[in-house]
Each structure stands twice: as structure tokens, then as C-alpha cells.
């Protein structure tokens, strides 16, 4: 894990991908997403995540439903929509393609 600022742009670009992956696994609420990302390179805080979630919902990639919590106020549980699942699949495909291109580059023939 490299916490330096050098690759912050790369991480920023991939945050959406990471969030979609977390949500695809199971229905989660915002704090759980933050928890899931906390130990990865994609460590994000509410200040970054909430506007992103709002944008993804506007793009119809995900949706949420309210659920009571045993302590405290009710929570929004997020899940992927059909469009969101397609987007995740496309991104995964594209990610693999990127990796392949990068591996292919700079190889002496």
C-alpha cells in the first residue's frame, strides 16, 4: 500500500469502480462502505463518498431503501440496479483490457 499523493489521481478515478464492487457483494449502508474501503488503497471519508453515492444514484447505477437500525436513526441500504450491474461488468472487462495493454507495453520484441 502506497499512501503517497503521487497516485491520488489514479485512486480517484477508480473509486467509483471500488464502490460499485463493494455494493455488488451485498446490500450495505454508507458506513459499511467506508469500513470496507478503510483498509484498502481506496480509503474514503464521508465527505468524498456521499457526493459520489448521490451522483451514482442520479445516474441510476444504484438505488437504496430505508431500514431501521437497532441503535440510532434509520439507514439507507444501497444496492446495484440492472444498469449498475452492467456498468460494473463493463468496467471489469475494461480494467482487464487496460491491464493487458499495460503489460504488453514496453516489452522488448
Amino acid at each position: 500500500m502506497n499512501p503517497s499523493e503521487e497516485f491520488s489521481q489514479i485512486r480517484k478515478g477508480l473509486l467509483e469502480f471500488a464502490v460499485l464492487k463493494v455494493i455488488a457483494a451485498r446490500r450495505v449502508y454508507a458506513a459499511e462502505i467506508i469500513e470496507a474501503l478503510a483498509d484498502t488503497d481506496f480509503k474514503a471519508s464521508e465527505g468524498t463518498l456521499y457526493p459520489l453515492l448521490s451522483r451514482l444514484r442520479r445516474d441510476r447505477l444504484l438505488d437504496y431503501e430505508w431500514a431501521e437500525s437497532e441503535s440510532g436513526p434509520p439507514r439507507k441500504y444501497y444496492g446495484l440496479t440492472r444498469v449498475g450491474k452492467e456498468r460494473l461488468k463493463d468496467t471489469e472487462t475494461y480494467w482487464k483490457q487496460l491491464q493487458k495493454s499495460l503489460t504488453g507495453l514496453g516489452v522488448k520484441k
Binding site: A30, E46, P51, R58
Partner: protein, 392 residues
């Protein structure tokens, strides 16, 4: 021993130390400003509040029910700065614009400003929008409203603006009403500016006093305390210029005179009405004899209704002028009084109309049958040349 503030986060009450409240409020305000372009701003703000609430819960136990300043700082740190995608690009773009134009063009919008307003906040809104002296704006508005050709458009425009224009409620809107930027930085800049002004004034004052008293300069330090409620809008009410003071004095004089004249008119009409009423009931005026077939009480009612119909508008306008002259606000009581007068007036007009419909024919018949009209005509139209004989 710190003061505690109770706030509502997602429908639940939380108790915070004052400084903690301040920290969270500044954070949420800056979050709101950062989300200015997000169409789901309100929803995201509600999410932020809920997140703050959950984090507060983490610090509270059965034996500790107040969030401290340090904990609030920790919460804000955990939440992280609000980053909206595309803002970096936008910020760069606007920086370029600033570099090109040399000036930052702030978002400016017309709002009704209720602080210091008298009627609907239109004049205060105009004064804020153009950064004009409030008194001058009011003066011109009233003069135009009283000048024949402009009165219609001005009054109608005022009423339309009152209903159509939005009211500046949030700090952002209050800033936009004055065309000031609203983000954390701008707010802090304004607060700092205000602080240095206050500080300079106070230090100057103390120095002057000390010089007067001890005949030697005196060092006074004013400690800066951040204004917890961000009441910069009140603090920035335009200070009155010399011209403003003159205009205000003139304004005051005119309105005082006008309300005095109206008061005298009301008094005169009241005296007249009482005199006529007494005379009628004591049978001192011939009218009663001539109309004796109509109940005295009906005539009394007619006089009362006529009196109210004439007097009410005068007293309402007089009262308004009097308040305008002394810069008093129109509060709930004035509103109630106004509505009461208005109702009385309408009831009086209605009564008059009713009486006219019910008794009008009878009065006309009476005069017709008694040849009153003819008699009157004969008496009035006298031909001197014909030796005092009635006209033909």
C-alpha cells in the same frame, strides 16, 4: 464548565458543547456550499447530518451525554473535506476566469430581506442588491408611490415583488442578496474584516478616553471572539451617510405631518358624526321629521356605517405613516389591527350598500310624493327679471 447546545440531527436531539456545535456547523455549512451544484443537495446534506449523528452516538454513553469540542473535531476529521467530482476542474476554470477578468463576479440575486424591513422587505432587498442607502430607497419609493403617474406601477410592482420574489432565509441567500460570495473562505474573510474594524474602533475609543483621562496613551487589547451565530448580515447593515440622515429627518417630518393631518381629519369627522347623531336622536334636525317613517335606529346605523366607511381608510393610512416616520416595524399586532380596521371598513361599506338597496326606494318615493324635488327646484330657480316668479 461549558455551555451546551441542543441540536436536531435526523430527528433526534443531541447535546453538544458550544464549541463542538460551532465546529460541526462550520463543517456542514461548508459542505452545503461545496454541494451548491448538486441537484440532490438537500438529500446529501441529510445524509451528512445522519452520519454526524451516528458518529456522535459513538461518543455517547449512559453516563456521558454531551459531545465535547475535541470529539466534534474528530468527527469532522473523520468525515473529511467534501469533495465533489469535477470541482477541481471547475475551480481551475474559475481561477482562469478570475485571472482574465481581474475580478470575481459573485452570484447575485434579488431576494426580499426581512431584517430591518417595514412592510414586505422589498426596499431592503433593493438596497441590499444595489448596495444603496436603505433610507434613500425608501424615500424614493414612497415619493414615487405618492406621485400621480408613478403611484400605480410602484404600488402594484411592490405588491407583485412581495409575492413573487423569494425571501432570503439561509446564510447563502442572505449573502447572495448582497451579491457576496458564500463559502467558508468568504465568510471568514468578512468576519475578519468586521473584527478588525470593531477592534480598531474599540482600541481607538479606549485610547481617546485614556488620553483624556490620564493625559497619556493607553494600550488596550480587544480579544477576538468568533461570532457563534455568524450574524454578519446584521452587522453589515449599511451605516447611514450624512445625506441619509438628512433624508431620514425630512422623511420623518413629512410622515409625521401627514399622519397628524390625517389624525385631525379623523377627529373632525368623529366630532361631526357624533354631533349629527345626537342632533338626530334629540329631534333637532328636520330630516328626522321628513323621514320619520324610517326607524330611528336604521338612521343611526346608517350614520355609524357612513362614519366608519369614511374614517377607517384615514386612520389606517395615518397609523401606517406614523410608524413609517419613526422607523418602527410592522409586527403581528399592527397586522391584526390592520385586519380589524379593514374588516370594519368592509362591513361598513356592505351595510351602506344594504341600506341603500332596502331603503333607497322608500326615500326616493318619499321625496317624489312630497314634491320635494319640485319645491326645491322652484325655490332655487328664481327669475329676478320675472318679478320673483318661479321659472317655467
Amino acid at each position: 464548565m461549558n455551555k451546551v447546545v441542543t441540536i436536531n440531527l435526523g430527528g433526534r436531539a443531541y447535546q453538544l458543547e458550544e464549541a463542538a456545535y460551532e465546529t460541526l456547523r462550520v463543517y456542514l455549512d461548508s459542505a452545503r456550499a461545496g454541494l451548491a451544484n448538486d441537484p440532490d443537495k438537500d438529500e446529501v446534506m441529510a445524509d451528512f447530518e445522519l452520519a454526524v449523528a451516528e458518529k456522535c452516538d459513538g461518543f455517547l454513553t449512559a453516563s456521558k451525554n454531551v459531545v465535547t469540542a475535541a470529539e466534534a473535531a474528530q468527527i469532522v476529521k473523520q468525515m473529511g473535506p467534501v469533495e465533489v467530482e469535477g470541482t477541481t476542474a471547475k475551480a481551475e476554470a474559475s481561477e482562469n476566469k478570475i485571472a482574465l477578468a481581474g475580478v470575481d463576479v459573485p452570484l447575485k440575486k434579488f431576494y426580499l430581506v426581512k431584517e430591518g424591513s417595514m412592510i414586505g422587505g422589498v426596499c431592503t432587498g433593493i438596497a441590499a442588491y444595489f448596495n444603496w442607502d436603505l433610507t434613500v430607497v425608501r424615500f424614493i419609493t414612497v415619493i414615487l408611490a405618492l406621485t400621480g403617474a408613478f403611484s400605480g406601477p410602484v404600488i402594484i410592482g411592490y405588491i407583485i415583488a412581495m409575492f413573487v420574489a423569494p425571501t432570503a432565509v439561509t446564510p447563502e441567500e442572505k449573502a447572495a442578496a448582497r451579491g457576496q460570495r458564500f463559502d467558508a473562505q468568504a465568510v471568514i474573510e468578512r468576519a475578519k474584516k468586521k473584527y478588525s474594524e470593531v477592534k480598531n474602533n474599540l482600541e481607538q475609543q479606549h485610547q481617546d478616553n485614556a488620553t483624556k483621562k490620564y493625559n497619556k496613551p493607553y494600550e488596550y487589547k480587544y480579544e477576538y471572539k468568533y461570532d457563534a451565530n455568524l450574524n454578519y448580515d446584521r452587522a453589515e447593515e449599511p451605516t447611514m451617510s450624512g445625506f441619509g440622515r438628512v433624508v431620514r429627518g425630512f422623511f420623518r417630518l413629512i410622515f409625521t405631518l401627514a399622519s397628524a393631518v390625517l389624525g385631525i381629519v379623523v377627529l373632525a369627522i368623529t366630532c361631526g358624526a357624533v354631533a349629527v347623531g345626537l342632533a338626530l336622536f334629540l329631534g333637532q334636525v328636520g330630516l328626522v321629521d321628513q323621514l320619520s317613517h324610517i326607524n330611528h335606529w336604521v338612521i343611526g346605523l346608517f350614520i355609524l356605517a357612513a362614519y366608519l366607511a369614511v374614517v377607517m381608510p384615514f386612520s389606517m393610512i395615518g397609523g401606517l405613516f406614523n410608524r413609517l416616520a419613526w422607523g418602527k416595524k410592522l409586527g403581528r399586532r399592527q397586522y391584526r389591527g390592520f385586519m380589524f380596521s379593514m374588516t370594519l371598513w368592509i362591513v361598513a361599506l356592505f351595510t351602506l350598500a344594504n341600506l341603500a338597496v332596502v331603503y333607497g326606494d322608500r326615500v326616493t318615493d318619499y321625496y317624489r310624493t312630497h314634491n320635494y324635488v319640485q319645491v326645491y327646484h322652484h325655490n332655487y330657480c328664481v327669475n329676478d327679471a320675472a318679478g320673483g316668479k318661479p321659472c317655467r
